[in-house]
Amino acid sequence: MTRTALLCALGLVGGLLVGHSASAQGVLQGTVTDARGAPLPGANVVLQGTFFGAATNAEGAFSLTGVPAGRYTVTASLLGFEPTTRTVDITDGATLTLRFALREVVLEGEEVIVTASRREERALEAPLSVSVLSPRALEERNIQSLDQALRYVPGVQLSDNQVSIRGASGFAYNVGSRVLLLVDGVPLLGPESDGLPFDALPLSQVAQIEVVKGPGSALYGGGALGGVIQVLTRDFPDTPETSVAAFGGAYAPIRHEAWRQTWSSGDALRPFGGATLTHARRFGDRLGAWVTATYQGDAGYLATSEEQRLQAAAKVAYRPRPSQELALLVSAAGWERDNFLYWNGLRDPLNPGRLDIASSDFSGTNDNRTVQVGIFPSWTDTPSSRWTYTARGRLFTASLRPLDDRGQPRSTDDGTLGFRFGGELQTTYSPSASRTFTAGLTGDGLAVRSSFFQEDGQPRITYGQPEAAAFVQLDQRLRGLVRLVLGLRYDAYWLDTNETEARLSPKLNLSITPRPSTSLRFSYGQGFRVPSLAERFTDNQSFLPIVANLGLRPELSTGYEVGVRRRWALRRATTLEAYVAAFLTNYRRLVEVRFVGTERAFQFVNLTKARTRGTEATLRLRSSRGLEGQVGYTFVDADDQTLDQPLAFRSRHLLITGLTVPLTPLWTVGLDYRYASAPERVESDFARFVPDAEITVDTHVLDLRASVTWYRLRLDLLVNNALNYHYVERPAILAPPRHATVRATVRW
C-alpha cells in the first residue's frame, strides 16, 4: 500500500515535469486606477485558472509576458476596491492593453494565504483554521522575534520558546516542538532538539505570518502534530526602499521590595535597545534583492539574563522569464546569552537557583554563544498556465558553545554542532479551474555532535534520522460552492537504532461557501512527530540526571474541526468578521519527561494518551481608515487519559484582545490584552528539585502603544505589561515586568 502511494506520487511528479512544451505566446499589459483615474499601486491582476499574475507598480501599470495564446478571464483586485473582471483573447505575438478603473468599496479584507493547501487561496475559503499576522501588526508592537509575535494569535500559548496551539503542548524543557515552523515553505527546526529557532528569522522583511491550527502532517510531515507556522518573506518593491529603525527602552523594577532586595540591580532600570537596517530593490525586470541586519542588546530583568544578538538576512531572486524564479534566502544569527533556567524559589525569583549537594553544583543558569546559519535556495517554474513546480533546498546549521568563567566560548566539543539538510520538489497542476492536484517529494537528514549525547563517555556523533516522504493532494470544487480537499502523505524515517518508522497521514477538508461572505468548513487530519535526537539520546549529569531512551516512539495525533466564518460590511468602509470553531484532537504516545525510579534519573518517555477539545471564537473589525480590533477566545479541555486528570501546563481559557484606533491622520493609539487561566495541573517532577516550580497564576498582560507618523519618520511608544503584573509563562521563571520602548523608524 505504502509503496503504491509512493510510486503514484513519483509518477505524477515525473509526468508533470516532462509535460513542459513551448507554445504561441502574447503579452497582456495595462493600468489599474481608481474611479477618478488615480493610479493604484499594488493591485493584483491575475488570469483566472492559471498561475499568471502580476502586481501593479507605483504608476498603476502591470505587464504579463509569455502568456500562452487563448481566451482568459482577467481579474484586477485591490483591498478596499471592488474586483473587476474582463474576458480577453491573447494571440500569438500580440500585445493587448487593458485599463481597469476600480470602484472603492467597503473593505473586504481579502487575505490570501498559502499554508493551508500549499498554494495561494483566499483566507475565507481556506479549509482549515488559519490566523494571519501582518507586517503592520509586527511593526506596531515593535516585535523582534517570532515568539513575541505569536503571543498575539488566538489559541496560541508560549512556554519559553515552546509553542502550543490549542493545548497541543505543555512545557517540555524547550525540546521537541509539536508545531512545525516553515520559512517560505521550507521546514526550519533546530537539528538537535527540533526546537523552533525564533532568532534566525528576518522579521523586518516579513510579508505575513500564518498559523494553521490542528494536525498538518498530511501536507508537511513530521512535526506538524499540533499545527504549522509559516513565515513568508517579502517580495521586492518596484522602487528602492531603505529603512532604519532604532529602539531603546528599559524594564521597570519589580513591584515587590522583598524581591528587589535579593539582587543588587533590583531597584535599577534595566535597559535594552537595538537597531535594524533594511534595503530592498529591483534591478531591472529580472533581478530583485533585499537585505536586513539587526543588532539587539538586553541587560535583562533577572540576574544573569543579559543578551547580545546580531542577525542578518538577505534574499535574492532572479527571473530569467516572467514565469520562472530562482531565489536564495540566507539567514545568519549569533548571540551570547545568559540563560536563566530556573529561579531560586518564590522568595528569590530574580536570582537563578543553585543546588550544591551530592558533590555536584547545579545551577539555574548557563551562558553560551550560539550561531545559526540557514541557506534556502528555490527554483519555481510555471511552464504553462495549468501547472507549476518548485524545487527547494535547505541547509540549517546551529552551533552552541558554553562560555567559560572569563566569558570566552569553549570548544564545540563541550557544546553542540548540528546540521539539518534536505530538499523537496513540489508541483501543482490544474487541469481545470475547478480541480487542482498538488504532489511532491521531500528528503531530509541530520548530523549532530553534542556533548549531551554520550556514548561510552564520549560525545556521540549522530548521523540521525534521514527522512523521505511523498505527498499528494486533490483540491476539487463542486458546483462552485463546495470545495473538497483530499490529501495523503507517506513519511519514512530511518533511526540510527536500525529501525524504520513509517507513517501514512491522510486528510480531508470540506468547505462550503453559500455566499461570498460566509463559509462553513470541516476538516480531518492526522499528525505525527518523530522524537528529536535530544529526546532520544540526551545522557547527561550536568544539570540533573538524564538518561537516553533509544526506544522512544513517534507521537501521533488525529484532529477534527468544524467552523463557520462570516463577514459583514458595516458603514464607513468597515468590515466585521466572525469565526467560530469546535475542535477535537486525540493524541497517542505523547512524549514527556519523567523521573524514572528504575533508572534513578529523568528520561523522555512515551507516556500519555490524551485528548484536547474545545471551541474558539474570534471577532475582527477592520476599516480602510486604519481602525482595527480583535477579540479571540479559546476554551481548551485537555485531558490526560492515561492519568485521568488534566494535561499539565495547559490553560483552560485563553483570551486575546487588541484595538488600534487612528486618532488623527498622524496619531494612532492601541492596546492589547492577553489572559490565560492558570494551568489546572503542573507536572510535579520539575518541582522535585526546583523550589516553587509548581506555582502558577492567571496571566493578565496589558500592552499600550501610540505612534505618530510625520513625513518619512515614524515614532512609536510602547508600554508592555503596563499593569506590572507578575506571572510565569513556564515553570520557575518570572515573565518580563513592565517595560517601555521608544522606537524611531525612517524610510526613504
Binding site: 549537594i357 558533590s359 493578565h700 498582560v701
Partner: protein, 161 residues
C-alpha cells in the same frame, strides 16, 4: 471620537481589572521558621574514611523515604550546609525553613559520587522522630551519631552493622 475613546477605556478597565492584583508575590514571611541542631559523633576513631565522605549534611524530610531515589523531592525536604568531619560535635542552623511537621530527619552521608549514594548515619529520634517548625521560631534538635550502630535504611529494613 471622545465617546468612542471613553467606551474603549471603560472596556479596557473592565477586562484588565483582574490584572491589578499584581499576580505572583513573595510568600508570607510567617510561613517560615528555622532549625538549629547539635550533632554528637562517636566513637571518634570510627569516622568513615575521607573517600567515603563525599558529603555530610543534616536533612529533614516531610515524608518517609522508600529508597534513595525518593531523595529527589527537594521541595519536600530541607538540608543544612555541609557539616564538619572528624569532630566530636558540630552545630548547624537552617534558616527559611517552611513551617510544618518533619517526619524523618537525620545526618546523611554521601558515600560515593553517585547522586543516590546516600545513607543515614544518625536519626533524630526524640518525640518519635517528629518535630514541627513554627512561624518565625527556631526549633532545636539534638542528634547522636554512633558509627558502631547505624540506623537501617530504608526505614524498617534490617539494621546495618
Amino acid at each position: 471620537m471622545p465617546r468612542l475613546l471613553g467606551s474603549l477605556l471603560g472596556l479596557a478597565l473592565l477586562i484588565t481589572g483582574p490584572g491589578c492584583d499584581a499576580g505572583l508575590a513573595p510568600p508570607d514571611a510567617n510561613a517560615f521558621g528555622a532549625i538549629r541542631g547539635v550533632v554528637t559523633y562517636g566513637p571518634l576513631e570510627a569516622w568513615p574514611p575521607a573517600d567515603s565522605l563525599q558529603d555530610l549534611r543534616f536533612v529533614a524530610m516531610r515524608f518517609i523515604p522508600r529508597d534513595t531515589s525518593d531523595f529527589l523531592q527537594l521541595n519536600r525536604l530541607v538540608f543544612s550546609p555541609g557539616l564538619d568531619r572528624n569532630v566530636a560535635q558540630d552545630t548547624f542552623l537552617i534558616a527559611d525553613v517552611p513551617t510544618g511537621v518533619y517526619v524523618y530527619s537525620g545526618v546523611a552521608q554521601q558515600y560515593s559520587r553517585d547522586w543516590f549514594a546516600w545513607r543515614p548515619l544518625g536519626l533524630y529520634t526524640d518525640t518519635d522522630g517528629l518535630f514541627e517548625v513554627q512561624s518565625a521560631e527556631t526549633t532545636v534538635v539534638q542528634l547522636t551519631v554512633n558509627f558502631r550502630s547505624l540506623p537501617p535504611f530504608p526505614p524498617g529494613s534490617t539494621p546495618r552493622p
